[in-house]
Symmetry: D2
Subunit: 284 residues, 4 copies
């Protein structure tokens, strides 16, 4: 197993260091935070050395070039051509896209998309939850301890955030739509409320954390939110808040996407490293 | 809504009292713990009064007669004939059986099987977990606080038991087979071990709690368990322990089925009451 | 260091085994649960071998003879005469009494009274709390999870019990008299109430745990307690409940003294062992 | 009771608003964050209205003038002269000084120093702990969840911080000097280490939080700290770190005094408000 890290953000610096610390052979190319010290100075030399290629998260933003390679623009198709002519067995990255994954796999290369892996998503909920709590602490004049928190959504992120808020001493209410979630929320010692009934109690919270990826805090609900409440929106773009409406109402709503890489890149890198090594062990 | 409780155990005494306390009209017949005070003295009179019939848990043990009606034997088919000739709209109970449910529903009566309802199963995991902890406390010369506990299985019961043991100060390890469970176990601050690797560490625990409904603690594993370890088996019959082997090895393995009704019949009755009222509201 | 255990209860069996397991030289005499296997068959031979003597807890009940020596009655003064003529440097035990401690120390023997050591008392609060919880679980038809618990007193035992009840999912209120305790109760995430105001809310609890060593639940308060409430009294004799009054009112009040030795003798023995070794290291 | 707030920081804005919200009569003068709307425009008119005077925290920094009155310099002695000629019964503030308190009390005015009140100090440990956690989150690339944290000192702040860190999922070790603290640390489910033995394990922590008000992290200890470790110093000035040495070693040591007023002025104000009302009720 020879790993090659291509581009990427600060997480990949830690991923690089951790892979080395665990006695793996690793090359890196085009990452802003790590100097190449391996003697090659173009991507072709880099690709020749490796058999596991780690591409940026996300893979692309414009659907034409690979995202976030330092000082270089690299066409997606050119990269795919290059890798099929090399010794590469596994390609990893994030948000690669179904069609593209199929296309690459047809060339005999296995693809591991970090964003399609549910275990990674669950583990990423930990730095997401901590980042949400950090943001809430920064934005508020109150402590989270003893505050009233509403967590909208009880999926991966909602579960872990609600549990962490409780651990730090908040009074936490989580929302459910299904009776199963109602049961788990109660079994984990949290307060529960049906998502469709939040209107009546939403004015009672110091903090509202949203994890639901659609506009749940819309122009019907926002006017009922207390002016002192801090809204932290963790949902994927475009988030779960009508931000224009929030602004008009003078509500403090903060959009916090992609927290793991921003607030805890070491931990985020470690999660990727563990999943990557596990995948490679089972697939190489 | 007029409720009728037919037979049943101590939980149904509490169910009866709670339904009354919440201003429902309730009749009861053939329950050992509650006297009929409503003036009727046979089942026909009882059935005429009601439109929601609550039958015992389980519905039957011999597939011919209704289980646990005090001082009376009642044939299943006779009961079904009786209810279709009355005003009964909903029949509830536990472990009624798929074919029988279908047969009853064909007669225009809705059936709510407490044992098929996942929310009830999750909520029952709370008294199950507490009963398991109580049993462990009774059987051991050590405190659970600071002890090493292994929880086999991370389903409904494993999740809630592991969390409660942690809350009381144990050092808890839970087993996983899927990466998703591995991730949740870690995210909830527990130690994790792959179920297929327990052999190597199983001698290290003060308490082993099994929630897996097949013989996981078999003649290969049991000899590696420490003689001081207490094994608490929560799995449905026939449990997850080779009890003959455990006896030969002088291991303390305790089979603990159906804990909610035994250790916390009030709470178990309350769970049924909440689910029942919720079902009736939506189905009547 | 050669240890000699004289009499004592089940805890001393564990103390004996643990001292041996940690490679100490230990003799035992007159303990019901352990056979002497060291070849001596009277107390004089036993005392000759040792320099640290561990006497029963309590030291005496009748102020004349040593408590709880198996199959033997031993006069206190005779024992003290014997030890001053031997090689004994330290005498340990529980509730030895101030005057007696002074008298023994004048003979050049150091005395370590387990019951005068605050660290032991704090650590014993753990098995006490667990025993209280076990008793509450056994006595109640409800789960402790989600129940309302009142903890009277916020000393060593109250602090640790309240925290453990919270960990298992109870809704816990602790009482204070001083503002300092009020502050700590709140800082540890519990509800607080002034001890002098409990009258108004005492009917609201599923469980009342008393740790205050005087009759706090007296004939003025008890009539306001709910009939379903379980009272667990952990205070030292004579306890904190007017038991005659409780009986007349049909209240369930359970007196639970000396829990550590009864519910968790292994843990209780371990606490003594750690404290003993620590004391000996610093005093021999 | 008519309250008068003189100067002060952002906390006093919240104190002002809370006192009003609880239907108290309150005047304010010289606070940067609140406009006087009561019609008086000099301090003499202000003082005439009130009988409880709340002075800034700290009372003075130069021992001559009152600290932090907006747009005004006020001599301490002049203020004291003014208040004895008015209707003022109670003077509150922080760090007033023993001699000065005695001097004021001789004039028949009761003095309540917020900084001498232990309950306030305990409650302030909550926002202090949260501020420390927020700072640690901001400074680190790792999550606190699953990290190894060392808390130096187990007084008010150490107790509450250690407990909160555990609640958020950290692996927490606290230091003790006395056996009593050793016992409590263990009873609260934390790891313990004797303060004099930290040298051997100090390189093992992701975060070190100091609450001990003397230079515990000195030039002997600091070289053993890991370069990746974040040191958060919560001790009162001059703190517990040899900052010159830390800088030379390239260690990240952050001095965090007075967190409550900075990170959670609302909560800090609320703590003062509760204590103030309690004091006034008992002393007026």
């Amino acid at each position: 197993m020879v790993f090659g890290i291509l581009g990427g953000d600060y997480r990949y610096k830690f991923l690089y260091e951790m892979l080395i610390n665990e006695q793996n052979k690793v090359f890196i190319y085009g990452n802003k935070y790590v100097e190449n010290t391996n003697g090659y100075n173009n991507i072709d030399d880099f690709l020749k050395e490796i058999n596991i290629l780690i591409t940026p998260i996300p893979f692309t933003k414009d659907n034409e070039t690979i995202f976030n390679i330092y000082n270089e623009i690299l066409d997606i198709n050119i990269l795919i051509d290059k890798i099929k002519n090399n010794n590469i067995k596994i390609l990893c990255g994030g948000v690669i896209g179904k069609d593209r994954i199929k296309y690459i796999e047809e060339k005999g290369i296995k693809v591991f998309d970090f964003f399609e892996d549910e275990a990674i998503a669950i583990l990423n909920a930990i730095p997401t939850a901590e980042g949400a709590i950090q943001t809430a602490m920064q934005e508020s004049d109150k402590t989270i301890f003893n505050s009233k928190c509403l967590v909208l959504g009880y999926g991966r992120c909602g579960k872990i955030l609600a549990n962490m808020l409780k651990g730090i001493g908040a009074n936490v209410t989580a929302t459910y739509r299904k009776q199963i979630d109602y049961a788990y929320i109660n079994a984990y010692g949290l307060n529960s409320i049906n998502l469709y009934n939040i209107e009546n109690i939403i004015n009672d919270f110091d903090f509202i954390f949203n994890t639901i990826p659609y506009e749940i805090l819309d122009k019907n609900i926002l006017p009922k939110v207390n002016k002192q409440t801090i809204i932290i929106d963790l949902a994927q773009a475009p988030g779960g808040v009508d931000y224009n409406c929030a602004r008009d109402l003078n509500l403090k709503a903060i959009y916090c996407p992609s927290l793991p890489g921003r607030v805890a890149p070491y931990t985020a890198g470690e999660i990727l490293k563990d999943a990557l090594l596990d995948y490679c062990k089972n697939n190489l």
